[in-house]
């Protein structure tokens, strides 16, 4: 029922803009770093907060993400994807790492009751059960491990608030492909809940 539509064009200039910004980052232009932060800082924090549930941790993740973009600029290749998805995926990966290391820390601390409340920031809120928290981490971990082509679409459609059609244009793929990737990805995530792959996480529950 979905008719292919011509690209809206409003994201098609993204790549040259990214390439230009990246060029200035590579050659040490500090104003390019500030521009990248203005353009993508909010997205990076939004992704990090969603995973970590902690504004403080999200701030740390944002700091790491932009430090990496700036000090290792060659890790991004403008020919292979947009800066938006690259930063979003990096933020997500770093945020998942943060939660996992925080969970380990918490477990270690359990032996030492006095340290139990050392990291209240990331504790489940009143509306969130510990089980939901664990399941959410499980999902985000599974998300971080999806193939890159699927992750790119999820990052645009979910974290960056694009419609699947806009995401298709931004990624330069057919709309049907974007839909299929979202579906495959979300089904994989749903199944990972039914069948948790990481026994270490289960023990933590």
């Amino acid at each position: 029922m979905v008719v292919p539509v011509e690209s809206t064009g409003d994201t098609s200039v993204q790549l040259p803009v990214d390439a230009e910004l990246h060029r200035r980052l590579v050659y040490g232009d500090e104003s390019a770093l500030a521009e990248a932060y203005t353009a993508y800082g909010e997205l990076v924090r939004r992704v990090a907060v969603r995973v970590t549930r902690s504004p403080g941790a999200a701030e740390d993740v944002a700091q790491e993400v932009f430090a990496q973009l700036w000090s290792r600029p060659y890790a991004f290749d403008a020919r292979r994807g947009s800066l938006r998805t690259w930063l979003s995926m990096l933020a997500h990966r770093r945020a998942v790492d943060w939660v996992r290391s925080e969970a380990r820390h918490r477990k270690d601390a359990r032996a030492d009751d006095s340290a139990l409340h050392a990291i209240p920031d990331a504790a489940p809120g009143p509306d969130e059960t510990v089980v939901d928290r664990e399941r959410s981490l499980l999902l985000h971990t599974a998300l971080a491990e999806l193939p890159q082509t699927q992750r790119e679409v999820i990052h645009l459609a979910y974290f960056a608030g694009r419609t699947y059609r806009q995401a298709a244009v931004e990624l330069g793929i057919p709309e049907g492909t974007a839909k299929t990737r979202l579906r495959t990805a979300l089904r994989t995530l749903a199944e990972s809940l039914a069948d948790p792959p990481d026994p270490a996480l289960e023990r933590g529950a």
Binding site: V26, G28, R46, R72, Y74, T163, A178, L182
Partner: protein, 339 residues
């Protein structure tokens, strides 16, 4: 049967993510009300997204960037890697090239012996740049790795240049790559801290280096050119794309290369209208005759030709008119063998 069951089922994931355009958004609930299997799948997918979302965070704006000043996120970045040195425009291209190479070298960690160009590996390429920056550093009296010997007109500068490169590469291979990088970076920083890098007036003084007499300001552009070309070499060797310098720097390299090409062609060469895409045009060669041909090159391709990274035969070009005149320009450009 136009209930488009298959069509809606394909939309369910996008729907669960809230990523449907409004028209399709409305179609989904209509179908779910009639189709149990889709409703079940929709529920499962929606629940998965709900868990990804986590609980609503009442009262806290998600991901807002605090306004004003250099954000904390960026002060850490700038501590990890300082920006390009702030210098006068004539030295800015060199400052940028130095910053670009400095950011690339950590990627060589564990891969220093990767072959790059000539018979140099990554380590030797940095050692070559260390040697190549020495004459200007010596002339400006900074860094002082070697005493400034002046340019002895009786000695072919390329011989002296090649001998010194071989010597430094041999020396540096006995040291760690990190030590070589530190020395190269220190000498580059000293050059960029020199009054000639900061102030156009002392930089206007002409001096002969690498066989060519130019204002010191232009010698900084030559250094930028070489540092970038070798950064590009190292990037290729490591499988990393090195973007060309930002336009304002690239054009400085192009203009200097055209001037030197004009000198090399001399006043009697068959005249060619030479254009660089996105920028200027020049008439190269004799002014006394009508233009014989037109030649257009991309700025990066032109630099790579002058830098010896494109051959005259294969460099992408647009040309019209006398092919001999065009070939003459391309071959002369390549023969500058600047690096």
């Amino acid at each position: 049967m136009t209930d488009d069951h298959d069509g809606v089922r394909d939309l369910l994931a996008a729907w669960a993510f809230g990523a449907l355009p409004p028209a399709e958004q409305r179609a989904v609930p209509r179908h779910l009300a009639r189709c149990e299997s889709c409703a079940a799948e929709a529920e499962q997918l929606r629940e998965t997204v709900r868990l990804l979302d986590g609980p609503p965070r009442a009262g806290r704006a998600e991901g807002t960037v605090p306004a004003g000043g250099t954000p904390r996120a960026l002060t850490a970045a700038l501590r990890a890697r300082p920006g390009a040195a702030r210098v006068a425009p004539h030295a800015a291209a060199y400052a940028a090239s130095v910053a670009g190479l400095q950011a690339l070298l950590p990627e060589a960690e564990g891969r220093w012996s990767t072959p790059v160009v000539h018979d140099w590996d990554v380590h030797a390429t940095v050692a070559h740049l260390l040697a190549a920056d020495e004459p200007l550093a010596g002339r400006l009296g900074v860094g002082a790795r070697v005493p400034d010997a002046g340019e002895d007109a009786s000695v072919d500068w390329t011989d002296a240049w090649n001998r010194r490169t071989a010597e430094v590469i041999a020396q540096e291979h006995a040291r760690t790559p990190e030590e070589t990088v530190a020395d190269w970076a220190a000498q580059a920083a000293a050059l960029l801290a020199a009054p000639e890098a900061r102030d156009p007036e002392p930089a206007a003084r002409a001096t002969t280096l690498m066989g060519v007499r130019l204002p010191v300001a232009d010698h900084f552009v030559v250094r930028a050119f070489e540092a970038w070309i070798h950064t590009d070499d190292i990037g290729r060797a490591l499988g990393l794309a090195v973007p060309p310098p930002p336009a304002e720097h690239l054009w400085r390299l192009v203009r200097l290369a055209v001037r030197i090409l004009g000198l090399a062609l001399g006043p009697t060469a068959p005249p060619v209208l030479f254009a660089v895409t996105g920028g200027e045009e020049w008439i190269l060669g004799s002014e006394a005759e009508p233009v014989r041909a037109e030649l257009t090159l991309d700025p990066v391709d032109f630099c790579l030709l002058v830098g010896g990274r494109h051959t005259p035969a294969e460099v992408p070009r647009r040309a019209a008119g006398d092919q001999g005149a065009v070939r003459n320009v391309l071959e002369r450009a390549a023969s500058l063998s600047w690096l």
